[in-house]
Amino acid sequence: MLREKEPILSLHLNPKPNKNIIQVQNNDKLKILVVDDQPGMCETLVDIIEDAGYFIDSAENGIIAIEKTKASKFDLILMDIIMPGKNGVETLKEIKKFHPQAIVILMTAYTAPDLIMEAQKAGVYECLGKPFSPGRLLKIIERLDKEKESNLKKNKKVCQ
């Protein structure tokens, strides 16, 4: 069992009114999209990641995900592989076409080696087998966020 050092908050959960504030406050933070045909998965991940202080949105299938990504460029896309309509890998390929900087983490309950191979070719960042520990996911997000931050600082320095 992985144990994370996480801030232990009181049970006064009220994420929605805080949503906009966080969104505004953390403009430079990582923008994340969760794509899963299972609403429970989307909701839980949204809650966890939002509470960790990131901007997060969800999409229930590949097509919506592509549209949302086109609308606002997400830094990180968490995507299920097996989905009705477009599957994760196909969606990944499409997104990479117009938004090559997007980091995609695939989540799967199935161990389908050929799909994973294809995803790796298409430039997937990591594959997570369901069920995975949300703590581990947060660690990855944290790392990516730091990377983004340092990249932004570099860019600013370059601009200045």
């Binding site: 801030p7 908050l9 009181s10 959960l13 839980t44 809650d47 966890i48 069920p131 520990s133």
Partner: protein
């Protein structure tokens, strides 16, 4: 005895019977015998005839002499008759007797005629002399009677004296004649006797000659007729006794030739029939044998020889039980005892032992042998080596079961796979929720934290079960590389944790050869077996011993525990998927273990004593094999 090779289409045989005929046939022999006897009779008749003549002549001579003697006596009497009256007349002077003179003359004449007639050449002069004497005496007698006795007495006396003188002479002459006659008589008698004796001798010789000749011929002919019959009889007896090795040798045409030829033909066709039946019997691929009523083997086919290892010479005359060393004969006994003797006992499975005492499973059918009257004279048994068939049936059954099992496993695998995957999605959601709740619960809520932990732990075990299911559903082909099993075990054990009161002992043989194996899969095997052992030990303290050993070309890995052991009724099902005695676990560990070992071309066995422990023995092939 002559040896002669008799050939026909099928056989070449050495003949060793005496020839049927020797010398002429019966008919010429009979003809010769009758001819010889007839000749003998003719010769005998001729001899008899010839001898008869001789005897007849001899006796005729005797018969001839008898009237001669009488005639001579008559003559003598006549002479006396003439002298006596003359004498009387002289004395008495009475001429009484003269009255009978004519009769006397006639008598004398006839006597002389007879005398002459019967006289022989040498006697005739003597008769003549007697006749002369008689004539003289007669004349003198006549002279006397012409005298008157009283007157001329003196002269008469003179004449009388002459007459007496003549009478004496005539007597002498007659005596000479008789003497001569006696001589003839004697010689004739002698001749007759000689002839008779000689005839008798001849006849006796002829009789005995004929007797001996006849007997000899009869014996010879009867023997010559009986001899071929005797040979026929001998041959027939031999054939009746079952010996068909010989045939009659026909040297020459005879009365029995056609009989002998038919006989030979019969022998050949009998032989042909017997050989044909034997050929057929021997050609039958399944072993066949027959027994008589004493269960003694009377026929033993080639296939029988091949299967049992006994040769026919060894088996014939032996008791059925001694040869087959099994209850194959019970079949035959059973059929004899049973009321329905016409019904054969079919397809009985029996274990038989061959000469080398190897047990052979056979399928036997028995039937009764009956003679033409319907009496049981033994039994006939046909059987078949069914070891191949049995093995094939078993293989087929095994394969079938294997197929059923693998099909079942495949279905199970697919089911497990889809169920497993589908379960992972809700599990992921549950885990996320639990995580979120945990992050929101304060330390002042220890009970809630405990429950969240319970949820997380159960998610872990549920995930473990799903892992097992999925692992079973995709038992991958092992990636075989050469490895040293001892090192694999040691490195595996670093990653395996057991309870503190369970001790793991290593007893590794450094001499084991390398083997081909997949490290990860072997690790999985060790994990499964050690976890089972740990579970078997339960809450007590115990010991697990891991032993490797070189066994010939193979490597033996033994994992023993001091646990509770396995119930005997469970041992058979132990490797079946989803069989478990644990309260936790879905029973795939040993199924996966077995499948892995099978993929390594190894073998897994176990021995277990309830309450004492279990030994799992795995045998791997070495790299070189």
């Amino acid at each position: 005895m002559k040896n002669k090779v008799l050939k026909n289409d099928h056989f070449t045989r050495q003949e060793n019977l005496p020839p049927m005929h020797k010398g002429p046939g019966i008919a010429p022999r009979l003809f010769f015998m009758i001819f010889a006897l007839l000749t003998l009779m003719v010769i005998s008749s001729l001899v008899a005839f010839w001898r008869n003549r001789t005897v007849h002549d001899a006796f005729e001579k005797i018969l001839y002499e008898i009237p001669h003697e009488r005639a001579i006596n008559d003559v003598q009497t006549a002479i006396t008759d003439y002298i006596m009256p003359a004498n009387d007349y002289l004395i008495t002077g009475d001429p009484v007797e003269i009255l009978n003179r004519d009769i006397l003359d006639e008598k004398v004449r006839l006597a002389f005629v007879e005398c002459y007639r019967l006289a022989r050449d040498d006697e005739t002069p003597l008769v003549k002399r007697v006749e002369d004497d008689f004539i003289k005496i007669k004349n003198l007698s006549d002279e006397i009677f012409s005298f008157n006795v009283s007157t001329d007495r003196e002269l008469a006396g003179k004449i009388m004296k002459n007459m007496d003188k003549l009478a004496i002479d005539s007597r002498i002459h007659v005596r000479d004649l008789l003497k001569m006659h006696d001589q003839h008589m004697a010689s004739a008698s002698y001749e007759a006797e000689q002839a008779w004796r000689s005839t008798r001798r001849w006849m006796t010789s002829m009789f005995f000659l004929a007797l001996i000749l006849g007997m000899g011929l009869a014996t010879y002919i009867s023997l010559s007729i009986l001899r071929p019959l005797k040979i026929l009889d001998t041959t027939a007896t031999k054939i009746a006794g079952g010996d068909l090795s010989g045939a009659l040798v026909i040297e020459r045409k005879g009365e029995l030739t056609s009989l002998a030829e038919s006989f030979n033909q019969m022998i050949i066709s009998l032989r042909h029939q017997i050989e044909t039946s034997k050929t057929i019997l021997n050609a039958i691929a399944d072993p066949v044998f027959t027994v008589d009523n004493n269960m003694t083997i009377t026929y033993f086919s080639n296939a029988c020889e091949r299967l049992t290892g006994f040769s026919a010479e060894e088996a014939l005359g032996q008791r059925c039980r001694d040869i087959f060393k099994s209850n194959i004969c019970e079949n035959l006994c059973a059929i004899r005892r049973s009321a329905r003797q016409d019904k054969p006992v079919l397809n009985v499975e029996i274990q038989m032992k061959n000469k080398e005492s190897d047990t052979i499973p056979i399928m036997a059918s028995a039937s009764c042998l009956k003679d033409w009257k319907g009496n049981i004279m033994g039994g006939c048994e046909v059987f078949r080596d069914i070891s191949d068939w049995k093995r094939m049936t078993k293989e087929l059954k095994d394969a079938e079961q294997q197929l059923i099992l693998s099909e079942r496993l495949a279905v199970l695998g697919r089911l497990a796979s889809s169920v497993g995957h589908e379960l992972r999605n809700p599990l992921a959601v549950v885990q996320n929720s639990a995580y979120y709740l945990k992050s929101k619960i304060g330390e002042d809520q220890p009970k809630l934290i405990k429950h969240i932990h319970m949820i997380e732990n159960e998610i872990d075990s549920a995930n473990k079960i799903i892992e097992d299911l999925l692992g079973f559903s995709r038992t991958k082909k092992p990636e075989l590389i050469p490895l040293y099993l001892n090192s694999t075990i040691e490195s595996s054990l670093h990653r395996i944790r057991v309870r503190e009161d369970v001790k793991i002992d290593l007893n590794l043989d450094p001499d084991i050869p390398n083997m081909m194996g997949d490290k990860n899969q072997l690790h999985q095997v060790l994990v499964n077996l050690i976890s089972n052992a740990e579970h078997a030990i339960g809450k007590n303290s115990g010991q697990i011993t891991i032993t490797t050993k070189k066994r010939g070309e193979n490597i033996e890995l033994k994992i023993s525990d001091t646990g509770c052991g396995i119930a005997e009724e469970d041992i058979g099902k132990l490797f079946d998927p989803f069989f478990t005695t644990k309260t936790k676990g879905i029973g795939l560990g040993l199924a996966i273990t077995k499948s892995i070992i099978k993929n390594h071309k190894g073998k897994i066995d176990l021995t277990s004593v309830k309450g004492k422990g279990t030994d799992f023995i795995i045998t791997f092939k070495s790299q070189t094999q």
